[in-house]
Every structure is written in structure tokens, then in C-alpha cells.
């Protein structure tokens, strides 16, 4: 793989912040990944965990103690060596209520979390730094996802002095020990990142620098990409251009198309009539012509029949879901007492192609007698409606659909299908809470012993199949992510659509 090259990436929206304790949108997600390093990471392009800043680690048999040995001599870009205290500081910072970070909840298994989060303690008692190269995590309960948690952005290691020097503006002046360092940030225009020459893995990254230009309309970004001014169009290919590009002779050089850990679904609010009736929910599952929906997005997706995406461990290839069958759907509705159908409201975000998909769903529903009125709103309003009890009967999740934080089935349950998410302001928009399944989910997550991982996956598989029996969702399709890149960019599709970080800046390279 070649070394060198300066590339240009475009985005429409501003980069909100590069503070790893705060940043939580899909744009800054991959940048933060490269600016900082964490104890754990993934092999590029895969969901496979590997130690990163940690040289090695051990887990106690009860699954409650994790001991990490740090790599020696790793330096922050300010020149200081990374020490165990930095790890403790960084994770406490992510949990600290003062940080207002959205990721605190991930660390809930660490001992002392509740006290600290409630402001009753000044730190996390469960993190210990016995010597200059060891960090010990004590958990209050087994957590099978804990290693994943240490690989997410919120667990990035930051130097205390730089955070304090930035005086609240760390998100604009990040200092880390990742593959790149921030060189320049012109507000509203661009961010320039240069490779970190001291990065602890030799030969990584491959490119010398990348510049993120923001405020770029996707259509124009694509045009610039075709002219060679831009190397990666970060927002992908707008629907209006997709067919044209994919049919052009250059298509194979310009388009990378990869599976992501994503499912598009329609939530059926179990607290609103008539969706409190499982038969109605099942009927609607049979009413949607997913093949046609896939056609509307120009084939950039595959029909889905369960919550988990195929690339996620726990996906049940044997499960067939509810087949498209209008007659059966009508019959079920009749059984449920809605022979003449009913009226309801379907929410959707307002950016193309979401309203179109909503309209196609609307037409399918009409075929079984369900009159759905569409409300296409700005994303924040849809999220607000979803999190308000009794507000949104149906929501098409497109545009804000769940993309996993880390490749573990539990991440697809808790907030969006579990009881904890069925609260005011939560993300469980079906308001679905099955106590039995909830218990099984907790149990599955306690199986932290690596040897039991197959068993655990099996447990999750069953949970999701059972969820589908209750049919709180209509899984619609698994959208593939399509990234447009210039011809000179090299690398497999899975580093442009990396399951854990979207674009993997560490792995992409410029062809010689």
C-alpha cells in the first residue's frame, strides 16, 4: 500500500466538535476515531476487536475485572507520553456530568458509575492505576460488551493538560495520540489533518493529510469529485445522481458500496390504538412491498425481515419474517376487528428520499385499507415526536435510522427496543417493552466469558426473533452505504464503509 498523498473530503454540515467525549454524529465519528486512540480498536473493515493502546489485557473469570497493560512510549501529539492516569481521566471525563457527554451511559457497568453520575463521587472508583503501565477496571456487573465500550469514541484517551488549556474549547483544539493531528480549522470552511509521524504503529496511516471541506452541497461535491477536485464525497451520492453515476463507465472506480450495520424500519407505537393489537402490527408487516421500496432507492438496499442487519452477529439467516401478502394482511386486520381499515399518521424526515419512501409505504398501507397521513418534518421534530408518549403512531426511520455504535447485537436492543428506551425523550419509538425479553437481554449481556460468546449470540438471535413475533417494527430494508471516491483512491470497499467508523482514514490510501 502506497504512502503519501493529500486528499480532500467534503461534507455539507459543519463538523460540530472533535471532542471525543461529546462528538456523536456520523461525520465526526470517523474523524475522532483517527485523532485519538483507545485501549481497544477494530481491524480495519471488520467488526473484529483488537487491542490498540493496550498492549494486552486479561479478564477475570467472573468477568468483573479487566486489566490492561499499556503500550510503552506512546505519545500524545503534544509530546507527552500516555500514562494510565490519562485513561482514568479520559473515561471519568466522558462520564462526568459536567462534560454533558452523550456517551456516559455506555460506561454504566464500571463500579462507582452511579455515584459519580449522580454527583455523589468525584471519580469512578472502578478504575485503578496501580503502576505506570497498568489500568484496572472493576465492574459492578458483568458486561459482555465492555471491550466494545472501550473501543468507542467516548473511551478515547485525552491529555488532561490540553483539555484544561483549551478552557472548554477542546472540541476545537483536540490533542490526542491517534493517526492524525488537527493542523488547521477555518470555521465554516475547512479542517486540515496531517498524519501523526509518531503514531505507534509503523506505516499507519497511509495518506499524509486529509482536508475536510464543509458546506458542500452533495450534488456539487460529486461534480467536483468527477473533475478530480475532491477525493471523497462524504455525504454519498444523492438519489438524483445515483443511476447516472452507477451506469457511467467510470462507475467501478468512483463508487464503493458496502454493507453497514443499519436497518431501516417503521415503528408501530404499541401504546397507540390500534397498534396495541399485535394482529394489526403483524398485518402491517405483511402489507409492505419491500421489493418495490428497494426499487425506489434504485436498488441500494436489500429487503429486511428482522431488526438486525445481516452483517451483525446474531442475524438469523433461517428466519423468514412476514412475507408480503396483501390478502393475509387484510384477513388479519379483519380478525383484529379492522375489516374496514383505520386512519393513522406516518412520520418521516423531510430529505429526499425519505418522504418518497414514506409515500410508497402509504400506498401499500392504503391497499389494505389503512389510511396513513404523512407528516414529513425536520429530523429534530420527528425525534421529538417519537420520544413523546402517544404522539407518533408510525415513524419511518429513514435518515435517522439506527446505525450500531459497535458491532454487537445488544446495541440494537437496549435503546430502541428495550424497556429503558420506552421513556419520554427515549429512542424506543414503538414504546415496546416486553419484560420477559428484557430479562433475557440482561442475561445475555452478562455472558462476558469469551468462551460463551457463541452461546450469547445464539441467545440474542432468539431474542430478536421473539421481538418479531410481537412485531413492534416493520423492518423495511438494510441500506447499503454508497460512497463516492475519486479514481486515485485505493482500498477495499470495507474501509470506506467500515462497520465501526464509516470512512477509515487510517486505512485508505492514494494509488501510486
Amino acid at each position: 500500500q502506497a504512502q503519501g498523498g493529500d486528499i480532500v473530503v467534503t461534507y455539507k454540515d459543519d463538523i460540530a466538535t472533535l471532542d471525543p467525549a461529546i462528538g456523536y454524529d456520523w461525520q465526526n465519528w470517523s474523524i475522532i476515531k483517527s485523532l485519538f486512540s483507545r485501549l481497544m480498536d477494530y481491524t480495519p473493515g471488520t467488526p473484529d476487536l483488537v487491542p490498540s493502546l493496550a498492549e494486552s489485557f486479561t479478564v477475570s473469570p467472573d468477568g468483573l475485572t479487566y486489566t490492561f497493560k499499556l503500550r510503552k512510549g506512546v505519545k500524545f501529539s503534544n509530546g507527552r507520553v500516555v500514562v494510565p492516569a490519562d485513561v482514568k481521566y479520559s473515561i471519568e471525563r466522558a462520564v462526568d456530568p459536567k462534560t454533558q457527554g452523550p456517551g456516559a451511559g455506555f460506561f454504566g457497568a464500571i463500579a462507582g458509575f452511579d455515584d459519580f453520575a449522580a454527583g455523589k463521587a468525584t471519580g469512578l472508583a472502578g478504575i485503578e492505576t496501580p503502576d505506570t503501565e497498568t489500568v484496572v477496571f472493576k465492574l459492578s456487573r458483568p458486561d459482555a460488551t465492555f471491550l466494545h465500550v472501550l473501543a468507542i469514541n467516548f473511551a478515547s484517551i485525552v491529555p488532561k493538560e490540553a483539555v484544561e488549556a483549551a478552557a472548554g474549547d477542546f472540541g476545537k483544539k483536540p490533542v490526542g495520540s491517534g493517526t492524525f493531528v488537527l493542523k488547521d480549522w477555518v470555521i465554516g470552511q475547512k479542517l486540515v489533518f496531517a498524519r501523526n509521524p509518531d503514531y505507534f504503529v509503523k506505516g499507519v496511516p497511509h495518506i499524509d493529510s486529509f482536508t475536510i471541506e464543509i458546506g458542500q452541497e452533495p450534488l456539487v461535491a460529486l461534480l467536483r469529485l468527477q473533475k478530480g477536485e475532491v477525493d471523497i464525497a462524504g455525504d454519498g451520492i444523492p438519489p438524483a445522481k445515483f443511476l447516472e453515476i452507477s451506469k457511467s463507465p467510470d462507475a467501478k472506480d468512483l463508487i464503493v458500496d458496502g454493507q453497514q450495520l443499519h436497518t431501516g424500519y417503521v415503528t408501530l407505537n404499541t401504546k397507540i390504538k390500534p397498534f396495541d393489537n399485535v394482529k394489526v402490527r403483524q398485518a402491517l408487516n405483511m402489507a409492505i412491498n419491500k421489493e418495490r421500496l428497494v426499487r425506489i432507492v434504485n436498488g441500494r438496499a436489500t429487503p429486511a425481515n428482522q431488526p438486525l442487519p445481516p452483517a451483525m452477529p446474531g442475524y438469523d439467516t433461517a428466519y423468514k419474517g412476514y412475507a408480503y401478502d396483501v390478502a393475509k394482511a387484510k384477513a388479519l386486520l379483519k380478525e383484529a376487528g379492522y375489516a374496514d381499515g383505520f386512519s393513522t399518521v406516518l412520520y418521516s424526515t423531510n430529505t429526499d428520499p425519505q418522504p418518497r419512501i414514506a409515500q410508497a409505504i402509504q400506498q401499500d398501507l392504503a391497499a389494505v385499507g389503512v389510511k396513513a397521513e404523512i407528516k414529513a418534518l425536520a429530523q429534530s421534530n420527528v425525534i421529538a415526536a417519537g420520544g413523546t408518549e402517544g404522539e407518533a403512531p408510525m415513524i419511518w426511520s429513514g435518515g435517522m435510522a439506527w446505525i450500531a455504535d459497535f458491532p454487537d447485537p445488544s446495541n440494537f436492543y437496549g435503546p430502541i427496543l428495550g424497556c429503558a428506551g420506552a421513556v419520554q425523550g427515549g429512542w424506543n419509538w414503538s414504546w415496546y417493552c416486553n419484560e420477559d425479553l428484557q430479562k433475557r437481554a440482561v442475561a445475555a449481556d452478562s455472558m462476558s466469558d469469551p468462551s460463551k460468546s457463541a452461546e450469547r449470540v445464539e441467545a440474542w438471535k432468539k431474542i430478536f426473533v421473539d421481538v418479531m413475533a410481537d412485531a413492534p417494527w416493520i423492518p423495511v430494508f438494510n441500506e447499503r452505504r454508497v460512497v463516492a471516491k475519486s479514481k486515485r483512491m485505493g482500498g477495499e470497499p470495507n474501509i470506506y464503509v467500515d462497520p465501526t467508523r464509516v470512512i477509515n482514514y487510517d486505512a485508505i490510501f492514494v494509488k501510486p
Partner: protein
């Protein structure tokens, strides 16, 4: 005059306060809870409550507003919820781009509009007149996005005369400014034509002809100033429109203006940024209108400014 200015400035301050108050109340009316958005998908209710408290969103509205105004008077626009940084630098960084585009856009639309409007009025009911009038409709009936893309395709992508995107050099300014200019020119052309036809029928225009003043000078020096008042008013309006409303043009040409910032902030319910942008553009509008009102008596001395 000084007194008048002082009075108008006080009024301007009151208007700004009014804008701030209304914006504040409206933002409160929004069901979208910034804390929920910030807390993200994985948040516990605890985290949400935490964030809400940190942002002061759990205080009663009047208290929040009072705090806001107190900070404002110290020149502090607050910190962005989403970007976790002070709002003022975010807006200030984008202000030059916005002002440049605004000035250039207005200059172009006024130039095109005045020229076409005057020609149409002078050649009224002729073929040129009809053409100009039809064009003005084409101008206002075409969505900004289309015009911007079309110009981009032709002059940047195909001909390569101008850069496709970016900010900094005059070459970057040309296409976005022309997009705004072409679209706005229709209004000016119409307004100018209408006013000019009225003026050209006045006795004093006949006097100018009788003095042997060259035709062009009669039109430009004698008639045009009498037709300028509505144009000045229109410029005052456009300042407002372009201040935070050039979202589409900014987006297409990657112009780092305030419009994009505002649009994103609204999507994300980033209240401090929305407030900041609103106040800054309100200030621009108020100043623009003030200027228009102050200039009016110089253009038409019959209007008493007092």
C-alpha cells in the same frame, strides 16, 4: 438630525430586544428538546436531565431570558449546544463571507435591475420592454437552487471560468453573487420601470428636454433619481433576505456564510446559535432600514426626515 438618529438607534435597540424575546418564546414552543438531541440515541434519562440542567434549560423561561439578556449586554452570545463552543466567534467567522456576498449580490441585482428597468421604461411597450418584463418573471419564477446549479454547470464545471466552490478570491464570488443578482434583478427591473414611467411623464422631464439635455442624461440625471425611492426601500428589504436567507446559494457554492450556520442550527435546535444569528441579522436589517430611511430625504428632499 442628531436627535433623530439617537431616537432611531434607541428604537433599533428596542426592536432587537423584541426580536430576541419573540425568538426566545418561539424556541421554547418547539417540542424538540435540545437536551434529548444532544444526549443522543444511547442516553439514559439521567444523562438527558443532566444535560438539560447544565444548559440551564430547566430554569423558568423568564429567568433564562433574563440571563440571556444580561450576557448579551456583556457582548456574550452564549455557547452553542451542539458545537460546545462560544457562538460569537462562529458567527463572526462567517460574517465577512455573508457581508461580501450580500454586497455583491445586491450590487449586481441593482445594476441589472436598474439597467433593464430603465431601458424598459424608455422603450416602453416596445419589444425590448416586453422581453425585459417576461425575463423578470422568468427570474423570480426560477428556484435559486436551479439557477445556482445551472450557472455552476455552465461556467464552472464546463467552461472552467470560475472555481466551483469555495471562498476567498474575487473569482469565487462571481457565481454566487450573480445567482442572487439574476434572481433579484426581476424585482428591481419591475419596480424601476414602474416608477420611471411615472417620472418620465412629469413636466420637469419636459423641462430637461427643453434645455437640450442629452437624452441619456435626462433619463439618468433627471428622471432616475426621482424613481429611486422604492429601490432604496427594496435594498433595505434585501439586506434582510440575504443576511441569513442565502442558504441555498451558499450551499451550492460552498460559501461559508451565516445562512448555512442558521439552517443547521435550526435543524439541530441549537438555540444559542439561532438566537445569535437572529440577532445579528436583525441588527443588519435594522441598520439597513435605518440607513434607507435616512437616505430617503436626500433622494427626495420633499420628504422631511424630522
Amino acid at each position: 438630525m442628531v436627535l433623530l438618529l439617537a431616537r432611531r438607534l434607541t428604537q433599533a435597540a428596542l426592536i432587537l430586544l423584541g426580536v430576541a424575546a419573540i425568538t426566545f418564546v418561539l424556541l421554547y414552543a418547539l417540542p424538540a428538546d435540545p437536551a434529548v438531541l444532544l444526549a443522543g440515541r444511547n442516553a439514559t434519562p439521567q444523562t438527558v436531565a443532566n444535560i438539560r440542567h447544565q444548559l440551564g434549560l430547566d430554569l423558568p423561561l423568564p429567568v433564562q431570558f433574563w440571563n440571556y439578556i444580561v450576557h448579551l449586554l456583556q457582548g456574550d452570545l452564549g455557547r452553542s449546544f451542539n458545537q460546545k463552543t462560544a457562538v460569537a466567534p462562529l458567527i463572526l467567522a462567517r460574517l465577512p463571507a455573508t457581508l461580501t456576498l450580500m454586497a455583491a449580490g445586491i450590487a449586481i441585482e441593482v445594476m441589472i435591475g436598474l439597467t433593464l428597468g430603465v431601458i424598459a421604461a424608455v422603450r416602453r411597450d416596445g419589444a425590448i420592454d416586453r422581453l425585459v418584463m417576461t425575463l423578470s418573471f422568468v427570474g423570480v419564477s426560477t428556484p435559486q437552487f436551479l439557477v445556482a446549479l445551472l450557472l455552476l454547470y455552465v461556467f464552472a464545471a464546463t467552461l472552467g471560468w470560475f472555481p466551483m466552490s469555495g471562498y476567498g478570491t474575487p473569482a469565487h464570488l462571481v457565481l454566487p453573487a450573480f445567482t442572487l443578482g439574476i434572481l433579484g434583478a426581476g424585482w428591481y427591473a419591475r419596480i424601476v420601470r414602474s416608477a420611471m414611467i411615472d417620472v418620465l411623464g412629469q413636466d420637469y422631464v419636459r423641462t430637461a428636454h427643453a434645455k437640450g439635455v442629452p437624452a441619456a442624461r435626462v433619463v439618468l440625471r433627471h428622471a432616475l433619481p426621482n424613481a429611486l425611492l422604492p429601490v432604496i426601500a427594496m435594498i433595505g428589504i434585501d439586506i434582510g433576505q440575504f443576511m441569513s436567507g442565502a442558504v441555498v446559494v451558499e450551499a451550492v457554492f460552498g460559501w461559508p456564510g451565516i445562512g448555512q450556520l442558521a439552517w443547521q442550527a435550526i435543524q439541530q435546535v441549537d438555540i444559542p446559535i439561532i438566537m445569535g444569528v437572529t440577532l445579528v441579522s436583525a441588527l443588519a436589517i435594522v441598520l439597513g432600514n435605518l440607513l434607507a430611511d435616512l437616505i430617503a430625504p436626500f433622494i427626495d428632499p420633499r420628504i422631511r426626515a424630522g
